[in-house]
């Protein structure tokens, strides 16, 4: 049951990315390029996602626990530290170079472009390195 739910959530997530244009790096880079021909699509995607999540989370957190797990697994760190800010800066630089963040990169794999596969392999290596 939990696995079916995770599959459904992943499917919704991937469909949302594709519908919003986020599986096209040109659209993402068009948003980050504020000095060029600015493409606001990413702002609409983030706005839509935030609105639903903001309201939905508040309804969900009225419950004592999730439907299929013992407790909500929420981050326990609260400090804005150098790891957080340095990591975000490195991530942003890579995002600006390729137009891929982790979700859209993985969701784009089925199109079988060599460059996307190379990006994802490098991303997994970087992620594994950071988690050591």
């Amino acid at each position: 049951m939990g696995l079916m739910l995770a599959l459904a959530a992943g499917l919704l997530f991937g469909a949302g990315l594709a519908l919003g244009g986020m599986t096209d790096p040109a659209v993402v880079l068009g948003f980050l390029d504020v000095a060029g021909a600015w493409n606001p699509a990413l702002a609409f995607v983030m706005g839509g996602a935030l609105a639903v999540t903001f309201v939905g989370y508040r309804l969900v957190f009225r419950r004592a626990r999730p439907l299929l797990a013992d407790a909500f697994a929420l981050p326990r760190t609260h400090a804005v530290d150098a790891h957080l800010l340095g990591g975000a800066a490195l991530f942003g630089a890579g995002w600006g170079l390729a137009g891929y963040c982790p979700g859209p990169a993985i969701a784009s794999l089925p199109a079988a472009h060599l460059g996307t596969a190379a990006f994802v392999l490098a991303m997994l290596a970087g992620l594994a390195l950071a988690r050591r």
Partner: protein, 139 residues
């Protein structure tokens, strides 16, 4: 950009939000892609739901492609060496910073987490600055 594309982007965002709410309601988990994937490197004890989520993520665009009648996945926007460097930066950065566009930018902002607000501001600025350098200073 035509209004129909704005609506499409808003609706796409709403689906992403629906996915985040569903995962929190059902499993009590943050829908952050770098975190979900990170738990597979190496596979944690709870690898099964993570693998199922990723399987769904991989299948999602095909559903949209079928519904719209066109391929929603675009071409990579850079050459191989740049893509490899960018992948390393994105992987290492999201690992070090504990989240990406989904975990911090959607789930964290929705929880009004100070860490996520700070991280989102930094990666947006760094992304914009990088594109500015690549397209308007170097390019």
């Amino acid at each position: 950009m035509f209004p129909v594309l704005w609506l499409q982007a808003l609706l796409g965002g709403a689906l992403i939000g629906g996915a985040a709410v569903l995962l929190m309601l059902g499993l009590g988990r943050i829908a952050g892609i770098s975190g979900i994937v990170g738990g597979l490197l190496p596979p944690a004890a709870d690898w099964r739901w993570r693998a199922c989520f990723i399987a769904g993520l991989l299948a999602g665009p095909a559903v949209v492609g079928f519904a719209l009648g066109r391929e929603p996945i675009g071409m990579p926007a850079a050459g191989l060496p740049v893509l490899v460097a960018a992948g390393l930066l994105v992987g290492f950065g999201t690992g070090l910073g504990s989240g990406c566009t989904s975990g911090h930018g959607v789930c964290g902002l929705a929880r009004l987490s100070p860490r996520s607000i700070a991280a989102t501001a930094v990666f947006m600025l760094a992304g914009g600055a990088t594109v500015f350098v690549v397209r308007h200073l170097v390019g």
